[in-house]
Symmetry: C2
Subunit: 237 residues, 2 copies
DNA sequence: ATCGAAGGATTGTTGAACAATCGCTGGTTT
DNA sequence: AAACCAGCGATTGTTCAACAATCCTTCGAT
């Protein structure tokens, strides 16, 4: 019988069996490129993505761009308005709450279950990474470290699907954070929280760590909702 | 606010100004059709889906089928093997554990947060639906009722993203359950659990309801892993 | 000024075409 | 006989060109 290797496409990094150079399809590379521009803020929320423009710009066919759009739409990074085009997703207040509902479910669950010493060490490493970024005054690195921290928490669950979901949620948030990061100290305020959560985790106090994380998420959501106040996301779902 | 300017002339034309009649695109309809065949078990795990065959079969273009494939792949219902084709996903033991990890995170979180009386009523309705199905000896309806039950629990969180994730997870499980449903009594064993969870929820004992749900999920996972053990899975080659 | 009708642009979908790749068949070698 | 290698057929990946459908805008009529 042909036992299929778990050869997922989305993470797609496990080319263990064959020496075959894993060359992503053109559509995936287009999606990667757009995802990058989205993360860098080169494409602002609400911006329109014209098929022909991107196709010509990247030297690919319209159909390929279309496939890339489908991928990004499934990740909620763009939204399709039928017969009108695709637009960079712009999150409204209810979307923020929604995203944090997902984060509360996933992160708290992973934290409550705990993890191996290596997993905990990864969380600790992310905390220290954040400290170094703060000391260097690099808020971009601070944001990355913060995402590493929460990613490491979810990674404790050792679930591919949970990791994928978390990665998508973090990508959605990154899309939104470009407004918030105007405040260079935005992430620094969360450093003590991360430190406290990590300490509780290291001490094996899982329930306490979970409570701290919940409080952190609630506060973070409030902060983000507040920042969001000035601009209304005019996006009808 | 609603500028109604229709219904006087243009006999054959549908007014789609505000009352947007959502007509799914062809690609979506193809995806729906395939999703249906997947749910019905017409397409067994490991089966190959040839683009040209499906295109010809449904009377659409290959490109459209391709878009539908992308959608299904993002839902993990099919897997793409580069240059080889797409195959109906076949879940292994680790996938079952993975799926249940997601369910534990999402369902327990939603249950712990509780819901409005209407939400609880929806959960109760799903329990009663299951009872009726059991009384009628309809295991297909029993499975549907069971999914309604868990869907209603997640719906309490009022999160679009969580609902989407849960729907996809349930679709993945349905893909797998066609082996398990050979046992007509498969769902009946869960009826007392659902009843107990619902009662705790109605009584406002959220922590107790969450504990019951956790125990249920663990037991369900064990049962499913056991069923999976005897069969190595449909081979694709 | 408001309303309705052409115009232009973009998306949705199709069909055909071609290169790249995979699995298989069949012959060759040891 | 078993293993290896080349060639063949089939399918996927990608592009291109075309057309219908739909939307937004502009212009003209009332």
């Amino acid at each position: 019988m042909a036992t299929d290797r778990t050869d997922r496409t989305a993470p797609g990094r496990l080319s263990a069996s064959r020496l075959r150079v894993v060359v992503p399809s053109v559509a995936e590379r287009v999606a990667d490129e757009l995802r990058l521009q989205l993360a860098e803020g080169a494409l602002v929320p609400g911006a329109r993505l014209t098929e022909s423009t991107i196709a010509e710009d990247l030297g690919v066919s319209r159909n390929t761009v279309r496939e890339a759009f489908a991928e990004l739409a499934s990740e909620r990074l763009v939204v399709r308005h039928p017969n009108r085009g695709v637009f960079v997703a712009s999150l409204g207040a209810e979307d923020i709450h929604d995203v944090y509902t997902v984060r509360r479910a996933i992160e708290v669950s992973a934290l409550r279950a705990g993890g191996s010493p290596e997993d905990v060490a990864a969380v600790r490493a992310a905390v220290e990474e954040g400290k170094r970024a703060a000391a260097a005054g690099d808020d971009e690195a601070g944001g990355t470290a913060n995402q590493h921290f929460h990613g490491a928490i979810v990674a404790m669950a050792k679930s591919q699907r949970l990791n994928t979901i978390m990665a998508q949620v973090l990508a959605e948030m990154r899309l939104f954070f470009h407004k918030a990061t105007a405040d260079a100290l935005f992430y620094q305020r969360y450093l003590p929280d991360n430190e406290a959560i990590c300490e509780a985790l290291e001490a094996g106090q899982l329930d306490r760590a979970a409570d701290l994380l919940l409080a952190y998420l609630d506060r973070s959501e409030d902060n983000l909702t507040e920042v969001h106040g000035d601009d209304g996301g005019a996006d009808a779902g």
